[in-house]
Each structure stands twice: as structure tokens, then as C-alpha cells.
Symmetry: C2
Subunit: 195 residues, 2 copies
């Protein structure tokens, strides 16, 4: 394996930005399926794959979502062609017999609510990171958001209580005119050590 | 922006594997710094950047780490040139005044332990996802792991209690002869819907 070229590294990381405005062109369903077909390969603990995605694209879905958002997130979410609800499945372990055939791992989680909940949170967040980078790899811009009322959103989109929202992410072609100034980043010395 | 080419998408996602054996060549410190300089740009809520990384490379560090691992993770971790401890900083919000200059967001977290802990867990996991994909983008193979004793590891590497381990990730050039069979993935229909 070799390192990706500078243009690819820039598109994924160094020049990518969190967008607050999006062009109105819809994203074809084929692109959403391609997006999932990339991100699904990202590793999860015991291949547990707890992430569940709702691609909100219709005006009705957007209005339902908007009712759960912090005021500052409403306008950009209504404008984005797609908003992804990244959720986690609290019964992800029911899929382990087919997804992790090495041994019967289901009882490890079925009998330990705290482990199951931590595993769902950690791994659906990891998968959320894969989603963001897979979207950028496909030429889409992302606007991830944590400003919403989780209880309201869960009641509206997941009324049976099995799935729980983790975070939201707008997708589309970003409008550079609506970017905020770029935040700084902590240095290697502030965050890393080598032992 | 355009989509990355098939070779890049394969290297990041579709053909990448979780490795269990690694060549012994060390990873230069410059590569670890490059890795951080890519992953640091991944978005976090309010630019909170809670992830803290310990790159364990020395035999002494590896032995200290091995004492905290599940038996199945010891041999591959000792063999990998680098094992990253992906941790989170429980006082990440002390950096918000410099990292998120828009307004004073520190009190939002300083006064709400549950929100702070969820934010640290979600965002350090997201940053762990960025780490894995940045490593692959640089031509490194990854072996992420959740099989360890978190209390023991925290006591050994973070005795002051401020940082908490999230997960571990071996890095190096993978040995294809030590791969396990690839697990399946849940389908779009099982995990996604469009509304």
C-alpha cells in the first residue's frame, strides 16, 4: 500500500470543512447506496455494526426533523438535500450469529446492558466517522450536528424505542459563502505522546 | 469536488482489513506526526477534540500494555510496531476558549458531567474513526481492539485520572497470512431507510 496523493488527503482531511449551507440539487439514491457500501466496511468491535441510518430527504421528513432541532440548525438542515440521522440499534447483538460467526458472542451483550450500551455508542460513533469520510471521498460535503433534542427525535423517528439517535449529518454540495471561520486544532504536543 | 478513484476507495474502505499480524519495521515518528496532522482536521462537536493518543512503541511500553490485554490480543500487540491508545480527556472543555472562539462554551460542559462525558465518548470515538482512515490513507494497516481491562490500563497509563481509554489500535504493515476470514456486512435494507 502507498499513501494517497495530496489531493485525496486534502479532500478527506486537511482542506475539508464543516458546511452550513448547501446547493439544492438532490443526491441520487444510488449515491446514498454507494455511501453505505463504502462505510459498511469500516471495522467495528466483533463486527457488531450497531449504526442505523435514516436519510431524511422529503419535505415532510425535514419538517419532522426540524421540530427537534436547536434553532441554529433548522435553516441549514431544511436547505440540505439530505440529512442523515446516525442512530444505534440497542439490539445490535441479535445480528452477531450471522455477522460474527467465530463463536456465539450474543450472550456477552444480551446479559450485560452496560457493555451493550457502551459498545453501541462507541461503534455507532466510529461508523459515523466512517460515514463522514466516505461522503467526502464521494465528493460530498458534510455538516455534522449535535444540536437537537434527542428524546423528541427518538420519539418522532424511532417510536418503538429500539434505535437511539447518536448525531445528525447534513450532506450535499456545500456553499463556501456560508462557511464559518475555521477553528484551530490542538497540537501534537498537546494531545499525543510516544512511549 | 470529485469522487476519489477506485484504488483510493478500496484502500480506505472496500479492500481494507483488520490485521492480526504485522511486519516488525518501525513506523517513523514523522509518520505518526503526519497521521495526527491529518486526523486532527476531522470534525468534532464545537471543535471539542477530546481524543488523546499514546503511541506505544517501546518494549517497556508494550509490556506495560500487554499486562492489561485480553489473552488473544497480547501476541499481535507485542508484534505491532505501534499500538495507539485512543483515550479521551475528561476536561476537554478547558480548551474550548481557544479552540471554539465563537462564544464561551466551557460552562455548558463544566456544569453538566453527563453531557461532558457523552460528548467526550462520542467525539473521541469519531476521532478514532478518523485515525483509522487516516492511517489507511497513509498506507498503514490497522488492528483496532476493544479486548482489554480499561481500569487496569487507565491506572497504568493515566494514573491522575484525567484521561480514559476508549479503544486500542495496532498500526503497521499487515501480514496477509494472519488475516481471519472476512466478516459479512449488514445490507442497506437492514440498516438504512430513506424518508
Amino acid at each position: 500500500m502507498t499513501t494517497l496523493d495530496t489531493a485525496a488527503l486534502s479532500q478527506l482531511f486537511s482542506l475539508a470543512r464543516t458546511h452550513n449551507g448547501f446547493a439544492s440539487e438532490p443526491i441520487p439514491e444510488a449515491t446514498l447506496r454507494h455511501l453505505y457500501d463504502l462505510m459498511k466496511w469500516g471495522p467495528t468491535s466483533m463486527n457488531c455494526q450497531p449504526a442505523r441510518l435514516v436519510f431524511v430527504t422529503s419535505p415532510e421528513g425535514k419538517q419532522r426533523l426540524a421540530a427537534t432541532l436547536s434553532p441554529g440548525n433548522v435553516e441549514k438542515t431544511l436547505a440540505a438535500p439530505v440529512t442523515v440521522i446516525v442512530a444505534s440499534d440497542s439490539f445490535f447483538y441479535d445480528h452477531l450469529p450471522t455477522q460474527f460467526p467465530a463463536y456465539d458472542a450474543r450472550p456477552i451483550f444480551a446479559g450485560n446492558a452496560n457493555l451493550a450500551s457502551n459498545t453501541a455508542f462507541r461503534n455507532s460513533s466510529l461508523q459515523g466517522g466512517y460515514l463522514i469520510l466516505a461522503a467526502r471521498a464521494l465528493g460530498l460535503d458534510c455538516g455534522p450536528m449535535s444540536g437537537f433534542d434527542a428524546d423528541k427525535l427518538n420519539a418522532s423517528f424511532f417510536p418503538d424505542g429500539r434505535y437511539h439517535v447518536n448525531f445528525l449529518c447534513n450532506l450535499g454540495i456545500g456553499d463556501p459563502g456560508k462557511l464559518f471561520p475555521r477553528g484551530p486544532r490542538l497540537s501534537f504536543e498537546e494531545t499525543c505522546r510516544i512511549v
